[in-house]
């Protein structure tokens, strides 16, 4: 059974193309909301350049495999669907790996073993099961691009924190004064956890603040007295 298959609820409006695209970038961001694909998030985010490259390669794989899975969704029997999806994903990963080696050898070397490991990124299979298997090619393609962009955004955000603190630069451009002593730990594996934690902390704080502000606005709209407002705002 496809447990994730969400039937169209009668009376509910179908998502627009923009919604399909934007979902992965913000509301269901793979890194910050779904928290999938943590291996590359920890491993290759020590520079923004690597993070963007890994994000774009994952985008290509997500888009390609989403389109293929969706295209053959009525022909792939349920009983062998996992094998087939994994085969489709693995083929795209291999294509991306070979393509990157031929076209950007330095990047390919920098990302090392992590390109083949895209195949084990649970974001990919997750989207095939939850989306591409039950939606049209057009919508699945948009979803793949959105998820890929969201993943790129997630990786490069963590990469920004790590590269600035760990190397004093952003995208290879020096941004910190010469007196800044780089935190070597941010370049090492523990820096992945630290950097990711810092970004999550900032997001949680920001979300919390937005919720409080919304509560205050709602209270004002209700005409609540000012002591009550302060209580909400605390």
């Amino acid at each position: 059974m496809r447990c994730h298959a969400l039937p169209d609820i009668p009376g509910r409006r179908k998502p627009t193309a923009t919604e399909d695209l934007v979902r992965g970038i913000w509301k269901e961001n793979p890194t910050f909301v779904q928290m999938l694909g943590m291996c590359p998030t920890m491993a290759i985010t020590n520079s923004v350049k690597n993070a963007v490259a890994m994000g774009v390669l994952t985008l290509i794989v997500q888009f390609g495999s989403n389109v293929f899975v969706s295209m053959f969704r009525k022909r792939i029997p349920n009983e062998v669907r996992i094998s087939t999806y994994i085969l489709i994903i693995a083929t795209f990963v291999q294509i991306v790996d070979i393509g990157a080696e031929a076209m950007m050898p330095d990047m390919h070397k920098a990302l090392g073993a992590f390109i083949p490991l895209i195949v084990a990124n649970c974001l990919l299979l997750g989207r095939q099961e939850a989306f591409a298997a039950v939606n049209t090619v057009w919508r699945s393609g948009l979803d793949g691009i959105g998820m890929g962009l969201g993943f790129t955004l997630g990786l490069s955000t963590v990469g920004t924190v790590r590269e600035i603190l760990g190397s004093g630069s952003w995208f290879g451009i020096r941004v910190m004064p010469a007196s800044f002593e780089p935190w070597a730990i941010m370049n090492m594996p523990p820096g992945g956890f630290l950097g990711f934690g810092l970004v999550l902390l900032a997001l949680a704080w920001w979300k919390d603040r937005a919720a409080r502000r919304a509560a205050v606005r709602a209270a004002i709209a209700r005409g609540a007295p000012s002591p009550a407002l302060e209580e909400v705002a605390v």
Partner: protein, 238 residues
């Protein structure tokens, strides 16, 4: 496994009437596998020349750097215990160890480029050295591959470390930073990286091991051209 559909409007719940025949499952996987294989192999074959060309270009560039832009460089293979300018035939042709001999504009040999692989702190460090066998002098050093700890030991790839090797005499010895004055009197000395002792030692050990391994073959080798080997360099003393 029945293919005949069971149907009837009286069923309250849908019954499992959509069992897929085994041959169809097999066909799906076979077709997917065949298509995937075809796509991957075609792409691999198509991109291979480009990848090989890039690797060759990287090596050529590194040889140019460590031998200081020789006019040309020849590949010498080690076969049957001696260096030879002709590649060995047979199955081990690809595996045969090799060095590169650079020549200056007058056609005189200027030095050998030797690849060194030595386990570092994280992964093997691969480097290329330029070496003048007669004077036992290093001409240059370039790290080709290193996965040493970023921010600390990756200094082994930076010129502040690698540039010191030019003009040093084998076997190389490592000294601490506060002893750097010794470099003027001791021509074998190289200043190690503070905090990256294991990586610096690995580089030195790799270089010394490679030179010890190659020295007898380099000493015995006479270029096939009329140039006798002892004209190597201008101030060469043998």
């Amino acid at each position: 496994m029945s293919t005949s559909p069971v149907s009837g409007p009286t069923h309250a719940l849908p019954v499992e009437d959509d069992a897929v025949p085994s041959w169809q499952l097999l066909l799906t996987l076979t077709a997917a596998g065949a298509l995937a294989g075809l796509a991957v192999v075609l792409l691999y074959d198509w991109t291979r020349p480009r990848v090989e060309a890039h690797k060759a270009a990287v090596l050529r560039e590194a040889i140019e750097e460590v031998l200081h832009a020789p006019r040309r460089a020849d590949t010498l293979w080690l076969s049957n215990g001696a260096l030879s300018a002709t590649p060995p035939t047979g199955a081990d042709a690809k595996k045969a160890e090799r060095v590169y001999l650079g020549y200056d504009a007058q056609g005189r040999p200027t030095g050998y480029a030797i690849q060194v692989v030595e386990p570092g702190f994280a992964d093997p460090i691969t480097l290329l050295i330029g070496y003048e066998a007669g004077r036992r002098e290093l001409l240059g050093m370039k790290v080709l591959e290193s996965k040493e700890t970023p921010g600390i030991a990756d200094k082994v790839v930076q010129p502040v470390f690698t540039a010191q090797f030019r003009g040093r005499v084998a076997p190389i010895t490592g000294i601490k930073r506060d002893e750097s004055a010794k470099m003027t009197t001791d021509r074998t000395a190289v200043v190690m990286i503070t905090g990256a002792t294991i990586s610096s030692r690995a580089v030195l050990r790799g270089i010394n091991k490679a030179i010890a391994h190659w020295q007898p073959y380099l000493d015995a080798y006479r270029p096939a051209s009329a140039q006798p080997a002892d004209t190597v360099g201008t101030g060469g003393k043998r």
